[in-house]
């Protein structure tokens, strides 16, 4: 079965549990944090995916991580269930789908704004207002920084990308200068 399909099912179940418990926001935040730890820590991925590591050890590692994050029992149990069912590799996808489902439930669009250098909060507020004006929906902005953009801003909102980076302009210039054949 596809990883995305499995992750979507887990995310849907977690959404319903979070709504039922009234802790959906916290659940989304904790899963997003855990997914970030998964993405950034090679040691964590190796420990949880390696078949040579004992099952109990994996549970202990994840338990310790949840304790340090102050995760709720629902989050803790959900992550342990992923380990028990040997599905821990879908954790980032579960976090992503859970956040998308939660945003959809709240009627919120999430915009991922990437800049080459950090900008002021006032700029992000104006950008959020502009995006809400464009889409007609409430927009939540996720800030990211990517120096390879050289300069400018790239916004990803839904399936659209609004690219105002200098890197993209240089690429366009190169394509225009290069002969077609």
């Amino acid at each position: 079965m596809s990883v995305q399909i499995v992750a979507r099912r887990y995310a849907q179940a977690l959404l319903e549990l979070g709504v039922e418990a009234g802790t959906l926001e916290m659940l989304v935040e904790q899963f997003t944090t855990l997914a970030g730890a998964w993405d950034t820590s090679h040691d964590l991925r190796n420990a949880l995916e390696n078949p040579l590591v004992a099952h109990e050890a994996k549970r202990a590692v994840m338990d310790e991580l949840c304790t340090q994050l102050g995760a709720s029992p629902l989050t803790r149990n959900a992550v342990k269930m992923l380990i028990d069912r040997r599905r821990i590799q879908v954790l980032p996808y579960v976090a992503q789908y859970l956040r998308e489902l939660a945003d959809k439930r709240r009627g919120v669009l999430r915009a991922e704004v990437t800049t080459a250098a950090p900008l002021s909060d006032a700029y992000y507020a104006r950008l959020q207002a502009q995006l809400e004006k464009m889409t007609g929906q409430k927009v939540v902005v996720d800030r990211r920084t990517d120096p390879t953009l050289v300069a400018g801003v790239v916004t990803r909102i839904g399936d659209r990308i609004l690219d105002g980076s200098l890197r993209t302009r240089l690429t366009s210039l190169r394509d225009a200068l290069l002969p077609t054949n």
Partner: protein, 263 residues
């Protein structure tokens, strides 16, 4: 078919009977029996012995000697007697009358004629046809041989002309072949020249393209490096403001694209 077989069998039987009769007559002749039958003659030399020479010292009585002499004289007389008359028709006498032999011979000839007429005629006809065919074949072969002989004689007569004609034809064919080879070689050279030109042009085009691409890549890379070094926070903020202003403009398709494709 059956009649023919019976006829041939009869003919064979008659030939056998005739052979047997000839053999029997030959046997009769060897025994000294003359034509028409009659007792065999005794040779005069064998019986004409003088009585004095035949007397032997052991003989006692003169009577016996006289009897023997008389017997010998009688036999000698019989031996010297003229031959009997030919028996033509008398069936009572010893031996077969000649008339019976003639009738027998006539029947035999008639049988030969009756039974042998057709096969002999057929055989003769077949033989005649075969000979005629062989003669015709021989004539035909002779005519062909004569015709060939005439043909070869004519060829021999025109041999010089023919050799000359053949030599000229060979020379013409050689010249035509030479022209064809030269023409093909020229066409091939032209084609190779054209291909080489095309390849050179393509190589030049590719080189020009590669050079242009490398130049552009180098220029863009240099520009990027320069921008990375020269861009300040103020430039970042100014570009961000420009970006915001672009979003506020009604037409902002130039910087919008869908994920997984352009728009």
């Amino acid at each position: 078919m059956n009649r023919r077989v019976a006829r041939v069998a009869m003919l064979v039987a008659m030939v056998a009977v005739t052979g047997w009769s000839v053999w029997a007559m030959a046997q009769g002749g060897m025994q000294g029996r003359g034509p028409g039958g009659g007792p065999p003659r005794r040779e005069a030399a064998a019986v004409a012995v003088p009585p004095a020479d035949r007397k032997e010292p052991g003989k006692e009585s003169a009577d016996e000697a006289r009897k023997e002499a008389m017997e010998a004289a009688r036999e000698a007389e019989e031996a010297n007697a003229p031959p009997d008359d030919i028996n033509w028709t008398d069936f009572g006498r010893e031996g077969t009358p000649y008339i019976a032999l003639c009738v027998n011979f006539g029947i035999l000839i008639a049988g030969f004629y009756y039974f042998g007429k057709k096969p002999v005629a057929v055989a003769l006809k077949a033989r005649r046809d075969t000979i005629a065919k062989e003669i015709e074949e021989a004539q035909r072969m002779r005519k062909e041989a004569e015709k060939r002989a005439k043909h070869y004689q004519a060829k021999l007569a025109h041999l010089e002309d023919e050799v000359k004609t053949t030599r000229e034809a060979l020379v013409r064919a050689g010249e035509a072949e030479r022209e064809r080879i030269v023409t093909e070689a020229e066409a091939k050279a032209e084609r190779m020249h054209r291909d080489a030109q095309f390849m050179v042009e393509q190589e030049l085009k590719q080189l020009r393209h590669d050079l242009q691409r490398d130049t552009v890549e180098a220029a863009i890379a240099a520009a990027e490096e320069l921008l990375k070094k020269r861009v300040t926070q103020a430039d970042q903020e100014r570009l961000a403001e420009d970006y915001l202003a672009d979003l506020a403009r009604p037409g902002m398709q130039s910087m919008t694209k869908s994920v997984g494709g352009t728009s």
